[in-house]
Amino acid sequence: MKPSLDALRACFEGAVPSMLATCDVNGVPNVTYVSQVHYVDPSHVALSFQFFNKTRENILANPQATVLLLHPETARCYRLALLYRRTEPEGPLFEAMKAKLAGIASHSGMTGVFRLLGADVYQVLDIEAVEGADVPPPPSPRSRLASLRALVPAVNGATDVASLLERTLDGLGEQFGITHAMVLFADRARSSLYTVASRGYPQSGIGSEVPIGRGIIGVAAQYRTPIRIAHAAAEYSYGRAVREHIEASELASLLETAIPFPGLAEPNSQLSVPIIAAGQLRGVLHVESPEAQRFSWEDEDALVTLAALVGEASLALQQAAECHGEEAAGEPVRAVPPGAPLLVRHFAANHSVFLGDDYLIKGVAGAIFWRLVNAWVNEQRSEFTNRELRLDRSLNLPDIDDNLEARLILLQRRLAERQAPVTIEKAGRGRFRLSVRRPLLLQDAE
């Protein structure tokens, strides 16, 4: 029986170079190494097109090609009969291959030599398991499907977006042994992603931002495609992504740079998976490891599925929160706390907020905070509903799909991490309470 392409996915990790044979119109064969054979779907692979070379010339004239793959675990050899179909010079496939190639190049000491010009897509006409010796594969880890199944009840049991994210990140640790992970939500109006939850870092990095389109996380978001890199790849580091963005963009002042990004300084494996729900990008689930080749195809399958679950659940929970809480319960009369007043400064230009001299937050979360403390001071209110924030045009929420709940989580976490005398607590579905332990003195700075 012929193996299926799916059964050979381990051969497409770039761990072992593959060989490619083509033939020119005069009948002269040509053999070359290919750094990357990429699995596209059960009947297609893509090869990296990096140089205008003999192979390129040959396949454009004669689309027949043969590739030889070595299984990185069993040493079995497979021969694929290929037919060149097209070249994709951009888009999700191109970006996934470009990122992977960066990892392969770095691993093989070829950084700077490899530059992806296109993803050459080939139809797989035949797969031949070449006769030969093999070695037993290493014991397979626990089935990712079983791990995913074990995680599902935790995800389904979440009653708000905050607990959904906590449960998801805890579950990744418990079920998948993934201990460095974060969730970022998209701010599409500003073309950036902000961190709302993380695990495994000395600083949570809640509130830090990554521009869409930059670094592995930003590229996964832009092209809505999972990106997996098996080795260190400096060009996909966040530090560089953010720095280049700042140098290049007029939006630089809008990007949250005061809060450092939580990622590992030198990850050797990275996997970024877009979180999509109702056809919209909601964010990115990003995991990483100091260990090379930590994440397999199976991990990618599982995390793509998990991200879909998290996306749907977060959307449903957000909507539920905004439907509930319409009837404001009897407003408790808040007492003015004793003590010296805390100066709260708000800069309208970018909605940045400072508590005393300490920077807190900016952007939409900053605008929300400013509205809340104003209501607390001027209207003596301490309870609020998600719905009233949603309907408040002065907040200028980017659009109706914006994840308001995530903004509140961000604000809540930042206040908690700064140990501010102001905190936000849940007060039932779609409701929350502002607790203030010092008098507030508000100053709107232009």
């Binding site: 033939c23 002269v28 064969p29 027949q64 043969t66 030599v113």
Partner: protein
């Protein structure tokens, strides 16, 4: 018939072809569909520009049939630790039985392949399995080197090393 004596392969090329740890041989059928195989070792006669490459018959049915039909071959020899790679081509390839010493060359190549790859992080049993050929299944593909090309990955890959004769 006026036959020019062959220009010998330069020493460096001959030495590299004979010592390369990773060897791949390609051919094509009458319809220009390429075939491809990992080879088990290589011997070089620099003066005659002759190369003999050993392949496992069981793995090379298509390639051997293609050589019988078209005699066209492309041979790539590489050193994985440095990526240094050469490609040579010929159009007079024939399939021959092994000669004295060929089996020993194939056995030595298998060990050299393992020696080269283990420091790069490959498992030794894995590297040995790749070239675990029963001697009785090995045959030689012999051809005259018609052209040599630099094939080390990068923009210079594919450059012809000798002027066409």
């Amino acid at each position: 018939m006026d036959r020019q004596p062959p220009v010998p392969l330069d020493d460096e090329t001959a030495r590299f072809l004979a010592s390369g740890e990773s060897i791949t041989l390609g051919s094509r059928d009458v319809r220009c569909v390429p075939s491809l195989i990992k080879a088990a070792g290589c011997r070089v006669d620099a003066a005659l520009r002759r190369v003999r490459v050993f392949v496992d018959r069981r793995q090379a049915r298509q390639l051997l049939a293609d050589i019988a039909a078209t005699r066209a071959v492309a041979l790539v020899v590489s050193r994985p630790s440095t990526h240094h790679t050469l490609q040579v081509k010929g159009n007079d390839a024939v399939v021959e039985p092994l000669r004295d010493g060929d089996a020993e060359v194939a056995a030595a190549h298998r060990l050299a392949f393992a020696r080269e790859l283990v420091p790069l992080g490959y498992r030794r049993d894995w590297t040995l399995a790749i070239h675990e050929f029963p001697v009785e299944e090995l045959v030689a593909v012999a051809f005259t080197v018609d052209a040599t090309y630099a094939q080390t990955p990068g923009p210079g890959a594919g450059a012809r090393l000798e002027a066409p004769r």
